[in-house]
Symmetry: C2
Subunit: 316 residues, 2 copies
């Protein structure tokens, strides 16, 4: 049972072991946007981000003849991904493969040396038990499918040169594998994050999306009572909730429609709990198009809380 | 002391652990020729060959600005090489980097899955203690420098498109690093192999080079008395010898000038000790230009003996 060995070795704590955060989710679910802000907050000298979608077994040309899409585990070097996650989690460097999205080719690999924090984002970081054993904190990004499809069409037409109908056809082709391999990872997340408009409201179109964070009792979440109790703060609320699989969970709702001033109070309160000397960083809540989102910023702050807590627990 | 951990883990013997053979030596020392025959004898389904010169940290263009050549450990991902050797020696697959000699570029890495036998050849496989801990048998190829220079000029002008004076200039540039990093590995070899003409003889130019094999008592060598005692066989002799570093060693001389029939008797005798059902393979002793060399064939047979013995010892 290699996943047990990893747990044991990681538990020993040599002092050099990095804190490992997984961000799993389907294509265009917002993984890179969430990751980017975290890296900017902690700095590249303290945090390494790794995308496990680089572990493609076949390049774009070779995939043409295959009966599956890039989402299928058989289309990826899952065993090497597991091996590299174990190495990173022990503080060892890896030579990571690189997939060039612009050409669809596998190119020169790159050296990745783990810092204090490693974020691993991608389609399948939580697919196997051994991979999951490598993480301190696991996140699954779970936007409504209609919204994710729109994000994917926007990105792949603007940045990767595809036509909208090509992206839609690809989404259809991938759907059975999304259902079989990507979405089941939601079960293994300590935190499930859903950015979406609030159903019953008709906010103006520029209103940032709200966030729902399912905080599972698999890790210790920050004590948010001080932030939540204050009646003045409409920005967030916490609700006990039964998840789709029947398991009890705390659902933290972060509202996109409140004023920046109200959000700012929440952000500052969480930031102060992180007990870092720095100022609240500008990079928090930055979207791909440059606009800002307070629900994203608050989500990132909660992840920062977990990262810094895990780092402190290890140093102790 | 990670090299001790590797020794311990390898000693456990899970049954899946491959036999690991290192073939170290300077550029154009004959590593690939020696390796090729061994792979053809045992078959690619039983043997994996890995060249550790693929672990270049910089491509050819990047190296132009560096104060060292490709021979320098700092020019290579030595830590990743060590990691991959450990993984292979435990029977784990690796995603190996690939350096394209024709373009000088680092390209798409390739999956390497260890078989029963792994040959690791290259410039620096014995450079560190941790790397050395991964091997069952270690070989250093040690031709006279004048001969190696000629081989390198022949190969690099015919196969890699260089002019002779370019190759000579490169050999000069590399000499201090050959002395500092490549040649010291000779010390760590169980077997030191030197192909060279026999000094006191004037054989016709098509005579195959003779081989001198220093058999160090760091591993158990095959009992060759039956082959050597027979006065009819001029093909080989064994001589107790004090090595350049003062350590005692057995020097096995395999003569290139004897008739094919005399060599054939020796080859068959060693082959029969290997106790394999197959016929003596044609691939033994094949040089890069297609010609045959009995001293090379006999060297390969002795390495085959070690590979098969180590495999048997493990299965026992």
């Amino acid at each position: 049972m290699p996943h047990r060995i990893v747990h044991m070795l990681r538990a020993r704590g040599s002092g050099r072991r990095p804190v490992m955060l997984a961000i799993a989710g389907d294509s265009a679910a917002g993984k890179t946007t969430l990751t980017r802000g975290l890296v900017q907050c902690l700095g590249e000298d303290r945090m390494t981000a790794v995308c496990v979608d680089d572990y493609h077994r076949y390049d774009r040309r070779e995939r043409k003849d295959k009966p599956f899409t890039a989402l299928h585990p058989d289309c990826n070097h899952i065993d090497i991904m597991e091996q590299h996650l174990q190495l990173l989690s022990m503080g060892e460097p890896i030579l990571k493969p690189v997939y060039d999205h612009s050409t669809g080719e596998l190119v020169r690999p790159e050296l990745v040396e783990p810092r204090d924090f490693v974020i691993v984002e991608g389609l399948l970081p939580l697919h196997t038990r051994l991979a999951r054993a490598c993480f301190d904190i696991t996140v699954y990004l779970d936007p409504p499918e209609s919204l994710r499809h729109q994000w994917k069409i926007d990105r792949d037409t603007n940045k990767r040169g595809y036509a909208p109908e090509q992206v839609r056809a690809e989404l259809d082709r991938r759907e059975p594998e999304s259902a079989a391999y990507i979405r089941p990872q939601r079960r293994w997340a300590d935190i499930v994050v859903r950015f979406a408009p609030v159903a019953e409201r008709t906010d103006p179109p520029e209103t940032p999306l709200s966030a729902e964070l399912l905080l599972r009792p698999t890790i210790d979440h920050p004590e948010l009572r001080g932030v939540l109790d204050d009646a003045e703060h409409r920005a967030m609320h916490l609700k006990l909730h039964r998840d789709t699989d029947g398991r009890p969970v705390d659902a933290l709702h972060v509202h996109g429609y409140v004023s920046p001033e109200e959000s700012q109070v929440v952000k500052k309160t969480i930031w102060e709990r992180l007990d870092t000397p720095a100022e609240l960083p500008d990079a928090l809540g930055r979207l791909a198009d440059g606009a800002g989102s307070d629900p994203l910023a608050i989500t990132q702050l909660i992840l920062l809380y977990h990262l810094l807590e895990a780092n402190r627990a290890q140093a102790a």
